[in-house]
């Protein structure tokens, strides 16, 4: 199977391990990721906070490039995902002459794509090292689900795609109520005090629910959840969901990905003999 891949800017830098694990996992599942040629930044919060045309046209250029290929467009970053979906919705309602988009494809978040029945089955068949005993809280954040009119999420208050994937790997998925609470990622540089408060609430809830680690599907959330924990000695590791997929599938790159984390996530894995 072949799909178009839009990594987004973070995956070239701060979220390199996410990009590396995405490519390795998809490779192992026989999914060919074809990176969109000459893709540009989606504009993120800065564009839609500043100017409507920027917010529409920056993602539109990528959609038009992908449109020519006719392959579904897979997006691993929730912020990019929402910007692309929002632009797509507008373009289909009111075409933009500069960026003629025919809508020959589906824009999908990588998490939702890998959680499709066919892919989950492939994953289940290939699990070599079940993550038995690893207690994880699946953290979805905001923009993969909200607003549902744009994202198409069927259960925006209680999504289950990551839960299903982690359960398929044999991990112990804990029930908790902060799956889609905001981590304040867009404010982390300009108002770190706000972001820190939001992150503390999320981590407190995850710990109370008995999680040893969080699992994330967004480079903004992941980086924010790590940096806002500061220097405390009781820090909670935050995995990318594809890193845990790679671990369970027995892929060789796992150690390299985990070494890139600001909060070393290897302790709980060592305790369970997983690495």
């Amino acid at each position: 199977m072949k799909v178009s891949y839009y990594p987004g800017c973070s995956l070239l830098g701060t979220a390199r391990e996410y990009d590396e694990s995405n490519r390795a996992v998809c490779g192992a599942l026989g999914i060919e990721l074809e990176e969109l040629e000459g893709w540009n930044c989606c504009g993120a919060t800065s564009a839609h906070s500043t100017d409507d045309y920027l917010a529409l046209a920056l993602p539109a250029r990528n959609l038009v490039i992908a449109d020519g290929k006719g392959l579904d467009l897979i997006v691993p970053c929730s912020a990019c995902f929402l910007r692309l979906k929002a632009s797509e919705k507008k373009l289909l309602e009111m075409p933009l002459a500069d960026f003629p988009y025919r809508g020959s494809l589906k824009v999908k978040h990588l998490l939702n794509f890998l959680a499709e029945d066919e892919n989950i089955q492939k994953i289940q068949e290939r699990v070599k090292k079940p993550l038995a005993g690893l207690k994880v809280a699946c953290y979805y954040g905001c923009l993969i689900v909200r607003p549902p009119k744009v994202t198409g999420a069927t259960e925006p208050e209680d999504p289950k795609e990551m839960d299903r994937l982690m359960a398929a790997l044999g991990a112990e998925v804990i029930e908790w109520s902060f799956k889609t609470e905001c981590c304040g990622g867009s404010l982390v540089l300009a108002r770190p005090d706000i972001a820190t408060k939001l992150v503390e609430r999320i981590l407190k809830m995850a710990k109370e629910a008995g999680a040893e680690a969080l699992v994330s599907c967004c480079p903004m959330c992941q980086s924010n959840l790590e940096t806002c924990q500061g220097e405390s000695s009781h820090r909670t590791p935050v995995f990318y969901f594809t890193e845990l997929l790679g671990l369970a599938l027995g892929l060789s790159g796992v150690k390299g990905w985990l070494k890139r984390h600001l909060i070393d996530p290897r302790q709980p894995l060592r305790e369970k003999g997983l690495i």
Partner: protein, 184 residues
């Protein structure tokens, strides 16, 4: 104090945002679910009421749209289908100056967009440096905040998370054109 409602401001916001703010009946659902009300001067439902009443200066001088995290919870839950996060975008775009407590937020957006304009993608290292020099660096030195930030930068660098050289996309002229159309 009595307030004489001024509908022209309400209509202007409704036209610019495409959202029917007049439908808001103050159920408070947006503010109940909003994760950042603690940092706002007016919770979202109050701000919408102020828009309805035409309190232009107060609304455009409010912290609320700036510290809104764009988490879209309000938009998802509004029983009248008002895209409140979208209204916050419109208010941010209209307020030229950010009030005290939010000064750095538009500076961040500017550095971020400059990075896209220059290369088509955000080059994190360059964007962070530009942002830093737009903010009050001296205050950060005095409060020793700068040490914390430098340390974090170093931790990221040694883990290979900082790309040292920027990449410029093929087709940058498309991006230049998009930026020329800004505001249209």
């Amino acid at each position: 104090m009595s307030i004489a409602p001024q509908t022209s401001f309400l209509y202007h916001i409704e036209e610019k945002s495409g959202e029917k703010v007049s439908l808001c009946y103050q159920c408070n659902k947006c503010s109940s679910g909003c994760p950042v009300t603690f940092a706002m001067d007016f919770p979202p439902h109050v701000l919408l009421r102020m828009v309805q009443l035409g309190l232009k200066e107060k609304v455009l001088g409010s912290l609320t749209p700036w510290v809104c995290a764009s988490c879209e919870t309000c938009t998802t839950r509004c029983p009248n289908g008002i895209d409140i996060a979208r209204v916050m975008d419109t208010l941010r775009q209209m307020a030229r100056v950010a009030p005290a407590g939010a000064e750095d937020i538009p500076k961040f957006h500017e550095a971020f967009l400059n990075s896209i304009k220059a290369r088509g993608r955000v080059y994190e290292v360059g964007m962070l440096l530009e942002y830093m020099f737009k903010t009050d660096v001296w205050a950060k030195i005095k409060s020793r905040e700068i040490i914390k930030e430098t340390k974090l930068g170093w931790e990221m660098f040694r883990r290979g998370k900082m790309r040292l050289f920027p990449h410029t996309i093929r087709g940058l002229e498309d991006i230049k054109k998009i930026f020329e159309h800004k505001g249209k």
